[in-house]
Amino acid sequence: MSGTDQQVMAAIVELTDTIVPDFDIKHFADRLAAHGAGLPGIAAAGVLISEPDGGMPGISTASTAEALVLGEFQLERNEGPAIDAYRTGTYVRRPDLRGPDPRWPRFSATARAAGYGAVHALPLRLRTDTMGALSLFSPEAGALPESVVAAGRAIADAAGIGLAHRRRFDEQERLTVQLRNALDSRVVIEQAKGLLAERRRVDVGAAFDLLRAYARGHNTKIGEVAARVVDGSLDPRPGPSRTRRRTRSGI
């Protein structure tokens, strides 16, 4: 196995292993940039990752300060190879940054000024989901050897897999907590019904009506009212106007 193959194998193993308790997306992006920058003939690598909802900017990092500036540059102007790779989900390249480019009029000059001759941007994707881009910068102009392109794609694909799995995992966790909280709230409503029924000497149906009337009268959710009844911070009386009536009549 060639040195590059071994590098790629190591990158794939690392970048797909995202369901770990201490996962940190910034660290993940840094590692991806490091793997990209380690490929033969590559001077620097930049990584862009979107927010889980697809918004940019999410994470922007790079293996050199110059490449980081180029990443920020593209985000600010919403223009450049990484932006295109992210938007289209395809491999976007500028093998020669000399001369004008209608796609990114300002980017090419800036990249050349930073000392790069060529840029190759690979999407971080899994199936139809593109989550970011890996940009590989070469010092000299020219097409990348096929083997390096293949290695770059493998690394970018591995990152796409890892990112997609992590996002799904995070979303599942978020939904699970949401559901558990909703069940809690449901339980508390029943507890409040019982508590009020006992305290007011009414049946649980009437107790529920009390909770609901208070919630409506105070523009609050019934779950919140129930929680406060149960923690002892609220003994619900009906809405404001009825309270005044009651006060006047001395009840």
Binding site: L183, K193, G194
Partner: protein
């Protein structure tokens, strides 16, 4: 996990739903779990954010009572999964080890003729959504395929529970509402009533209810029904000068008073 076995389980789930002329639902994953484990009973409990587990659905005679007791006492294979998120496989509930680990659960299981119990986490990683359990009348462990199949059922339950396409997890919510209408609503109402009757917090009130139930060999939900119907009230137990408990005739020492 073998992808083809997973697909096989999903196929069984879909076929079962189709036989009932229904869309695939969480209930079907529980039923298929019982089937693939050759279990006479199976149940699903859901975790609350406060860490307690709420039994929601059970099939097979006696399963509902066993699940209710297990999660009320925090004792049993399912209760352990609720705490750890790791599967618990009890191939023989009649051993000394099982009796030491789960004294009240194993006694109730024996009373019901349940000899083995297997409980699986429903969730992904750290966030546990629930527990899927299966109960068998004959002892014996699970073969590798059966274990994988049960885990697939648990995974299927998780996927379906999180599915929002039917409108805000309507399938899961139907299960919750059904359970609350049946028995669980009364359990929590009763706890609320006891809170007011005894002037204690909800946790203590729940402990009073469950201790009363299991001391008297009754189901928690039956005791709860008596409380919400006014047939059973709890008041502070009276003490004489020496500080011992004195109950009036027919009044249990925990202060629970039967109303004729």
């Amino acid at each position: 996990m073998d992808g083809t076995r997973g697909a096989h389980i999903w196929t069984i789930i879909h076929v079962l739903a189709r036989e009932e002329h229904e869309t695939v639902s969480i209930r079907h994953t529980v039923q298929v779990c019982a089937r693939v484990l050759s279990a006479g009973g199976a149940g699903l409990a859901m975790m609350r954010e406060d860490g307690e587990a709420e039994p929601l659905y059970a099939i097979g005679p006696g399963t509902e009572a066993l699940e209710e007791m297990q999660y009320a006492l925090g004792e049993g294979p399912g209760a352990e999964v609720a705490g750890s998120g790791v599967p618990v496989l009890a191939a023989d509930l009649r051993t000394d080890r099982a009796a030491r680990r789960w004294p009240r659960f194993s006694r109730e299981a024996a009373r019901q003729g349940t000899a083995a119990a297997f409980a699986f986490p429903v969730g992904a990683g750290a966030a546990l959504l629930g527990v899927l359990s299966a109960y068998r009348s004959t002892p014996g462990g699970l073969g590798g395929d059966a274990l994988a199949d049960a885990l697939t059922c648990a995974d299927a339950a998780f996927v379906l529970a999180l599915d929002e396409r039917g409108g805000i997890n309507s399938d899961l919510w139907d299960l919750i509402e059904a359970a609350f209408a049946e028995r669980r609503g009364e359990v929590h109402q009763a706890a609320g009533m006891v809170t007011a009757q005894l002037g204690v917090d909800l946790t203590a009130a729940f402990v009073v209810l469950r201790n009363h139930a299991y001391t008297h060999g009754r189901r928690l939900s039956d005791v709860a029904a008596d409380v919400t119907a006014g047939r059973l009230r709890f008041g502070p137990a009276r003490h004489d000068a020496a500080g011992t408990d004195r109950g009036a005739g027919g009044r249990p020492a925990d202060g629970g008073r039967e109303i004729p």
